[in-house]
């Protein structure tokens, strides 16, 4: 593949591009699903193509194609150069990229069992077994089990001299049960909602989930939610667990710390950020126990790789340190605007057909020192919420509202009755400022976000957020229309 890639680099050099790169990507995806005793999906997909970026006289051009000949690669490179020429019609100054050494390397996601060698029958058997347990109650109208596997083989070559080959592998699954009665609909999922849990690795991730072993609880809780009281409205202490805290991190810290958004380059679509560059290093984002670390080297992380799509080596750094805004997700184009000489390596593209953009890296809330029992035990009147159902946040990432799958009231330090349709609302720095305890490392785990949307044309990226359950004081809960 590097021979084909070299054609694009040759064209970029010939046209005196300051920078040019080509990413050839072969991707295999397998999606399987069983719903109500029937196969709801069974798709095997293989795509191959390339995206070419050129920076000519300070302006960007990008074009992609899937015709795998030297002629087509050359034509696509010329198309990118023509687009760069048009970009020069409206520019304020030349784009300059932060320097990065040239690398020649091979990197691969560690795994123990290649999911693409596991027979389809084995995967379907596991899902049908789970499905049968999920449907053992007539109130369950929708039982669903899904699996997905992605292997992305990249060949990345730059005019800087980098020649990087990477193979990224991820595996994911989920189960859910939806109970319906008297016009009410309640869903419970495991390990989490929105496409389930996906991590970097192989079939061992699915084995560790033990989907059939959790099906009975998922089914029974979905049915129990039908008759549970609604989440009360008011102001309450709140403990967040499961993938809800991961999504809280994602929406209120992850996107808010993408430097392209902060600088206004996403204003027309996803929005900007309240975490402006004048706040860097002194703005109180959360209470002093809040530490949020971005890490492209994190084992199991969906954003973990040897290099990003700017050919920058993987790094680990603080976004929030002891409650203070301390860093951003950066790429080679924008890091200089905050005085940084080197990108943090948070630039990634969705497949071959999209231009690399600034992306959330794996971003985790560091564990605290409070045992979980104490976290609950210190709450007189409160609520615990788990797993996301609904999410919404304003375009500066300040005002948010989340709906969760399930809640439990806490009375005098004890988790008591189940409540349905729990929601909470807040303003980002006030919310993180109210965090007074984070459970210890024994509760810390990694949650995958496999469907993060951003950019125009729309791109999907994957990343992980690690967290232990955390406690927030005096939060507005129970909003309904």
């Amino acid at each position: 593949m590097f021979k084909l890639a070299a054609k694009a680099i040759e064209i970029a050099h010939k046209h005196k591009a300051e920078f040019g790169d080509i990413r050839i990507i072969e991707e295999r995806r397998q999606n399987l699903g069983v719903k109500n005793g029937e196969i709801s999906s069974l798709t095997d997909q293989v795509t191959l193509g390339y995206g070419i970026r050129v920076l000519c006289r300070g302006a960007w051009g990008f074009a992609s194609g899937s015709v795998m000949t030297e002629r087509a690669v050359a034509d696509t490179a010329l198309k990118a150069i023509a687009i760069a020429k048009a970009s020069r019609l409206l520019m304020a100054g030349r784009v300059r990229l932060a320097p990065e050494p040239a690398y020649t390397d091979f990197w691969q996601t560690p795994f123990t069992k290649d999911p693409f060698t596991i027979p389809v029958e084995t995967k379907l058997d596991l899902m049908f077994k789970t499905d049968a347990v999920l449907r053992k109650n007539k109130k369950i109208r929708v039982a669903s089990s899904e699996m997905r596997f992605i292997r992305e083989h990249q060949w990345h070559m730059t005019t800087d001299g980098s020649r990087i080959e990477q193979v990224l592998l991820s595996s994911g699954a989920n189960i859910s049960a939806t109970a319906v009665e008297n016009g009410d609909v309640q869903t419970r999922a495991y390990p989490c909602t929105h496409g389930g849990q996906t991590l970097a690795g192989g079939w061992e991730i699915i084995e560790a989930m033990d989907m059939p072993g959790h099906a009975e609880r998922v089914r029974d809780e979905a049915v129990a939610l039908l008759t549970a009281p609604a989440c009360p409205a008011g102001v309450s202490d709140l403990i967040i667990s499961g993938n809800q805290l991961a999504l809280q991190i994602h929406e209120s810290v992850g996107h808010a710390s993408e430097l392209d958004r902060v600088l206004g380059y996403e204003e027309s679509y996803a929005g900007s950020s309240f975490a402006t560059t004048d706040k860097l290093g002194h703005f109180r984002y959360g209470s002093p126990i809040v530490n949020l670390v971005a890490d492209a080297t994190l084992p199991g992380g969906l954003a973990t790789a040897g290099y990003d799509d700017d050919a920058v080596k993987a790094q680990r750094w603080h976004i929030v340190k002891d409650g203070i805004l301390s860093g951003y997700m950066t790429n080679r184009e924008f890091c200089g605007k905050i005085g940084k000489k080197r990108s943090r390596g948070s630039c990634r593209a969705d497949g071959y057909s999209n231009i690399p953009i600034t992306r959330i890296c794996n971003l985790s809330l560091m564990p605290g020192s409070t045992p979980l029992e104490q976290l609950v035990g210190e709450v007189k009147n409160g609520i615990m919420m788990e797993n996301n159902m609904s999410w919404s946040i304003d375009q500066k990432r300040l005002n948010f509202q989340f709906g969760c799958e399930i809640g439990w009231l806490i009375k005098n330090g004890k988790k008591t009755k189940m409540v349905k349709n729990p929601t909470y609302q807040g303003i980002t720095p006030e919310f993180w400022g109210s965090c007074d305890a984070i459970a210890d490392h024994q509760q810390w785990r990694l949650w995958g976000v496999a469907n993060c949307g951003k950019g125009q044309p729309g791109q999907t990226a994957m990343m992980c957020h690690g967290s232990s359950p955390a406690r927030f004081r005096k939060i507005k809960i129970g909003m309904h229309g």
């Binding site: 939806t178 380059y265 996403e266 609904s390 349709n421 303003i427």
Partner: protein, 454 residues
């Protein structure tokens, strides 16, 4: 399109029937369906009055579904050379053999006559150059720069062709072009926004959109904070379409209806919404036309979803229609589909007067330009939340009096659309789940649950 590898794509489009025949031949005796989509697109993105991204893509994707004796498998690929085709189909047949039998699996659809529909392909729109796109960005950016405003946005154009064919003789083909001009203007702490999508680029009123976004930004400077609570709202078409499309999709999807998860369950023929609300799904000759066949190659039919507030009918594909003991309305998504059939070409019936008339008739209310990050809290009630964005104004005694800081709504939309006071007389194309034409609405007693800082 702009000169480049487009020649290869055009060749693929011309050869698609040959590729289908090769796939059918490789599939042998098993039932085989091919969905092929060829697309060329380009997008120029600008921010801070400069071009920030400028991209183009070409793709040709094939989705092949194989069925045999109650078993099914699906393979997707984008390389259609003889060797690649052979590898892909052999791998699909291998998966098929190991597959479990599905007693509910329907055989492939037989060919049925499909109406030609409106012409949605415009050569000029397909062939817009990077310089044209950059010029459209520059028109707004230069005007903004002169007046101390900041422009952001996109100009996008694409051409695509989709073929659904199977070895029972079905062959359906659709092609269309699309252009979108979407602009956001910032004027210190004021924001304005406007957007239009059209199949023919000549239908986009560029100057009007630019002027509207600029005026909104200037008019929304120094917004005041108001208390959350229940207000009359005037929803401009884009804001109304954002929530109405969810009402239509989550309410009228045949599968959700069959599963008892829709607000229309048990309500067919009943008046549940405002008599001012009428919505039809009409891909054929409605105000938001599209492909005249569905993703099984079956003819799309016009379906009245809501007529004068009365709940009429959900949309179906062959599978959900069989379960509901009715006929398919031709609304299948690519099979197998987890979501099931949904309406994708929504025409909302206009009322009378203009947006200005809606404002004039408001004693006290809030004018909303656009909603941001809307999401479902409870799908069975279409209870939603989201933020206002890019121009939110207080209206008092029939006039806009001052801009307000953005608000979060948390609202049951079945209730909201039973509280409609007035509908404007013009339905405009809006971005939604699919295509949609929607007028502006005035709704009383709309719930804002909190406000934000800007």
């Amino acid at each position: 399109m702009h000169p480049g590898p487009a020649g290869s794509i055009v060749k693929i489009m011309k050869n698609i029937e040959t590729v289908c025949k090769k796939i059918f031949s490789l599939a042998g005796k098993v039932q085989c369906e091919v969905m092929a989509e060829v697309r060329e697109g380009a997008l120029t993105r600008f921010a801070d009055n400069v071009i920030s991204q400028n991209v183009a893509s070409s793709s040709a994707d094939y989705m092949v579904r194989l069925l045999d004796n109650g078993r099914t498998a699906k393979i997707n690929f984008n390389q259609a050379g003889d060797d690649s085709l052979k590898r892909a189909i052999i791998s699909g047949l291998e998966i098929l053999k190991k597959q479990k039998k599905d007693p509910a699996l329907l055989p492939l659809a037989k060919p049925r006559p499909v109406a030609p529909g409106k012409n949605l392909f415009f050569k000029e729109t397909a062939e817009l150059s990077p310089a044209y796109r950059a010029g459209k960005a520059a028109e707004l950016a230069k005007a903004c720069k002169r007046s101390g405003q900041i422009s952001c946005g996109t100009f996008e154009n694409s051409a695509s062709e989709l073929v659904i064919a199977n070895n029972l003789g079905l062959f359906a083909r659709h092609r269309e072009t699309s252009a979108t001009h979407s602009v956001t203007v910032r004027d210190r702490d004021g924001f304005g926004w406007a957007e239009r999508t059209a199949h023919d680029v000549n239908e986009i009123p560029f100057a009007l959109l630019n002027a509207s976004a600029r005026a909104k930004a200037a008019g929304s400077r120094a917004p005041k904070e108001i208390k959350a609570g229940r207000y009359t709202v005037i929803l401009e078409p884009q804001a109304a379409s954002d929530i109405l499309s969810c009402l239509a999709v989550f309410g009228f999807a045949g599968q959700l209806y069959n599963e008892g998860r829709s607000f229309i369950c048990g309500k067919l023929g009943k008046k549940l919404l405002s008599p001012l609300l009428t919505i039809e799904d009409n891909a054929l000759d409605g105000a938001a036309p599209g492909m005249t066949f569905d993703y099984e190659g079956q003819p799309r039919t016009k379906v009245k979803l809501i007529e004068n507030g009365i709940i009429k009918a959900p949309v179906h594909d062959r599978k959900t229609a069989k379960a509901a003991k009715t006929a398919s309305t031709g609304h299948a998504l690519p099979q197998p589909s987890y979501m099931g059939p949904i309406p994708l070409n929504l025409s909302v019936k206009p009322g009378q007067g203009t947006l200005e008339d809606l404002i004039k008739g408001t004693e006290r209310g809030i004018l909303v330009t656009q909603f941001h990050y809307t999401n479902m809290l409870k799908e069975q009630d279409v209870e939603m939340t989201g933020m206002t964005r890019n121009g939110t104004f207080m209206v008092e005694n029939g006039k806009i009096t001052f801009p307000v800081k953005n608000l979060r709504f948390t609202q049951n939309m079945v209730e909201a659309f039973s509280n409609v006071e007035a509908v404007s007389g013009e339905a405009v194309p809006c971005a939604a789940w699919g295509a949609m034409a929607c007028p502006a609405f005035r709704i009383k007693n709309f719930n804002f649950s909190s406000s934000t800082k800007f």
